[in-house]
């Protein structure tokens, strides 16, 4: 038995890096310090066993070489290929993805497109006053979760970084802090809150506006009730914000995907700036997948833009809403897709999935999911953070290196992508001869 410390969890945007695992006979047998979902990922569960190609409706096992070759043929022949996913793999694989997209003039998009894409648009509008999670741990005396329920979705977030964690100016943990939760229902997180503001569905924009007006000293324009929250409670929240030494708003999908969508986030950021005229105030999106921040980073430094990048012109063209993955599919524009480390089969709107099911689809993933049901080439990958190492970016954009814990026969995402790129170049080289 070997004990490995400082293991980095490859599940959610928390990227906890203090996990301890035991490995016996090349298998993870014990996990300490991870949340339940993280533990299950590290322990391993049912996976795609073999590369396979669909023939007459059913998947037939084949070799890696055959699957990679088939994938390359599909992509090289496509006129409007889409390369999608990238959030649950390492940056090294993402980089090869961007290179492949350039090579074949593809649209490359990632899961931010259907989660925090609106947050990115808001940041491009007004910027983002933020910080690392350790800043929150050491300094924050006011933590606000808005449209986010970490107790369920980011189980270690409060313990490691925010409300419950202990730091330099917060030696006694939650005794030194106040917790405000804004949500449409009384979630597990809301039950812990000092102040719970139960907001009506889709009224976030109004409530941010009210808080912002109050922070700038215009409380007289705010009516007695806004979005289901009483003025009294709003005033109390504003008092807490002004009196805090260091405040932070963590926001989740409850804000990005309701009502005014990206304008909600613009308003949230402007509310943070209003609070900043009184004291230190920051804001941070609760990123979901462990490396969704990373693909945004890689895509930005390589193409100039974080998601929904169209390389069909030879240079990067960025216009989300025109050629984000779902737009492309709804318009039935795309004629082949590579799906890596994600599951549009479960997360895209029905109309997009219907088109995806009709066109050739290559899936690269360690695990089967609804996308596997209609994929034409399925390529199993090593599990990043268990069987393969590589760089990832935590939700606060801190880069951390995933560790390799056990050996595997499966190819890493990076190697598979390099194989496809090489084959595509060979095909295109022959064509131009």
């Amino acid at each position: 038995m070997v004990e490995i410390t400082d293991v980095v969890c490859s599940l959610c945007g928390c990227v906890c890096d203090d996990i301890v695992v035991e490995v016996e006979d090349n298998k993870v047998t014990k996990v300490k310090g991870a949340c339940a979902v993280g533990k299950s990922k590290l322990m391993g569960h049912g996976r795609i066993e073999s590369p396979a190609i669909r023939e007459n409706g059913s998947l037939k096992d084949c070799s890696y070489d055959e699957a990679i070759k088939k994938a390359a043929e599909i992509l090289a022949a496509a006129r409007r290929p889409l390369l999608y996913g990238w959030s649950s793999t390492v940056c090294e694989a993402d980089k090869v993805g961007v290179e492949l997209a350039e090579e074949i003039g593809a649209v490359i998009d990632n899961t931010a497109s259907v989660c925090h894409g609106p947050s990115v648009l808001a940041i491009q509008d007004v910027g983002l006053p933020s910080c690392t999670l350790g800043e929150v741990k050491n300094r924050a005396d006011l933590v606000i979760y808005w449209g986010a329920n970490p107790a369920a979705a980011h189980a270690n977030h409060m313990k490691r970084y925010s409300y419950i964690s202990k730091g330099y100016w917060t030696e006694e943990g939650k005794k030194n802090k106040k917790l405000v939760v804004v949500d449409v229902r009384k979630t597990a997180t809301a039950k812990m809150a000092d102040v719970f503001l139960q907001i009506e569905q889709g009224k976030d924009y109004l409530v941010f506006s009210a808080l912002r007006a109050m922070l700038y000293g215009y409380e007289d324009v705010v009516p007695e009730e806004v979005g289901g929250i009483s003025k009294k409670d709003l005033l109390e929240t504003v008092r807490m914000m002004k009196e805090a030494k260091f405040g932070i708003i963590f926001f989740g999908m409850g804000v990005t995907h309701t009502g005014a969508r990206h304008n909600n986030i613009v308003n949230a950021i402007q509310t943070t700036r209003a609070a900043h005229t009184h004291t230190k105030f920051n804001i941070m999106p609760m990123r979901g997948h462990y490396n969704v921040a990373g693909i945004n980073q890689v895509c930005t430094w390589e193409t100039g833009y974080p998601f929904a990048v169209d390389l069909s012109r030879g240079y990067a063209w960025y216009n989300p809403g025109e050629h984000s993955a779902t737009d492309l599919l709804v318009r039935r524009e795309c004629d082949a897709a590579l799906i890596i480390a994600s599951d549009p089969g479960a997360h895209f709107p029905g109309e997009s999935i219907r088109h995806l099911a009709k066109i050739p689809v290559i899936q690269i993933d360690p695990f089967p999911n609804p996308t596997t049901e209609f994929a034409d080439v399925v390529i199993p990958a090593a599990i990043s953070g268990v069987e393969a190492e590589g760089n990832v970016y935590r939700m606060d954009n801190i880069p951390i290196r995933l560790r390799k814990l056990v050996d595997t026969e499966y190819m890493a995402d990076e190697e598979i992508m390099e194989g496809i790129l090489e084959e595509v170049r060979a095909i295109k080289g022959k064509e131009s001869e």
Binding site: Q124, T132, G134, F246, Y305, Y315, I400, R401
Partner: protein, 564 residues
Amino acid sequence: MVEGELLIRNGVVYDPINGVNGEKKDICIRDGKVVEEVRNPKVIDAEGRVVMPGGVDIHAHIAGGKVNAGRLFRPEDGRKGREAKTKVCRAQSGYSVPNTFATGYRYAKMGYTFVMEAAMPPLAARHTHEEIVDIPILDNAAMPLIDNNWMTMDYVKSGDMDLLAAYVAWIIKATKGYGVKIVNPGGTEAWAWAKNCDLNDAVPYFDVTPAEIVKSLAVANEKFEMPHSIHVHGNMLGHPGNYEVTTSTYDLVKGIKPYRDRPTMHATHTQFHSYGGTTWGDFESKAGAIADYVNKNEHVSIDLGSVILGDTTTMTADGPMEYSLYQITGRKWTNHDVELETGSGITPFLYSGKVSVHTIQWAIGQELALLIKDPWKVALTTDHPNAGPFIGYPIIISMLMSKRRRDESAADMHKAIYDRAALPSIDREYDLYEIAIVTRGMTAKTLGLHEHGKGHLGVGADGDVAIYDISPEERDAGRIQKAFLNTKYTIKGGEVVVKDGEVVATPAGKTYFVTPECDEKLTDEMMEKLKDKFEHYYSVTFNNYPVQDAYVPNPYEIKAPWRS
């Protein structure tokens, strides 16, 4: 490096480190290095054009978290520099915040072969290195920010300079960094509470002053045979009347002996620190006072931070400064404070020749270059992209070389230039030798890189050569600017990477990093305190913190022994 021989004949060579001033001279390169002679070389005929060593940029923000945050929140900037992929080059985007590939190509086209990334937050060092790997052609290094660190401030307070040196050694090694970078010492820590610090204010909760931090880090730096001095962005950047803070900062290290014949402090983007007046209303140039100090003293070198008119993206670890700038413009603002170490702010900015303050800023950068007598104390920079993007360097070169061009430009700008700046009254013009000094000789020497083959063309140097398509007699500012934007040839390690202004090869650059060698006992003692910081305050574990070797695929190590 490429194997084989290359002969550059008939060039007029400017190689200031070797005292070569416009001599007709052949350059011989074998297996990537300059040699005495070659036998069977490929030949490039320079046809009497200007030949210089590859350019060395001492200070630019080209890779890492804040550069990328700048790209991410400015798609409008990305749209400015689009160029399609070619057989050789990746797709390009961006003007003030170009993508990594464009960064490498554009520098190479200007004849540069080395760039120093000026500010690396230690906790995010992996990010800086990941981007550097994606910058083609350029040799590179990055300086970790060490001044707002809690470890640093703890030792400054206790006065344990040896333990501070042990920490400095550890963090430079852990980040694969090059030297000690200081940015608004104490002020950035204060910014974590939305406050700021002047030079002699106490840093909130830490009970030390910025002045003490600067002085202590200079002492710690000189305990090793460090190739570079401390590299300082002082307090009160961008504030009217800050020039006295600037000279007081220089004074702090006056008595400290450098380990060898180089300054004890490199003061960066000095334009932003040479301001007179009390408000933006009576704002004026104090470049004269700064130049006077630098002329009379030997312990300080500077770089310009010269302004390029137009839109740019400002970014610095000086969080409070970016906040003030955003309050002036009302444009978008991003901020990212980094636990126990540093911070950063980013905001777009437009320098307009119609605005008095911007016009005076524009004048100050050039005044510094022209009023400091010895060009070996001056490096040409724009603090890319803060005072303007690096592709504006050829504009500055043409201004420094042509009084006429400066006068013509001034005539189009705000009239404040005639009564609150000195530039119109300065007649000096740089010659090509001086240009070579401020763009490669001085910068390589100040970074200590001349001993590692950069910035000159002596035997043993790297075969990095720029051939500019002008004759040595050229005085036309427009033609000078054009020539310095796109070389006739750029040669990197003996390989032609640019020909007639087009990138023709994209070899990977080397990453230079320094290994300060510290006594084990001291390191162990320091380590106790450091591990406690990780145990209780960092959000990343001690073992996951140091940059792994995988992030530096082309390493070049420089050892810096402890000075006995």
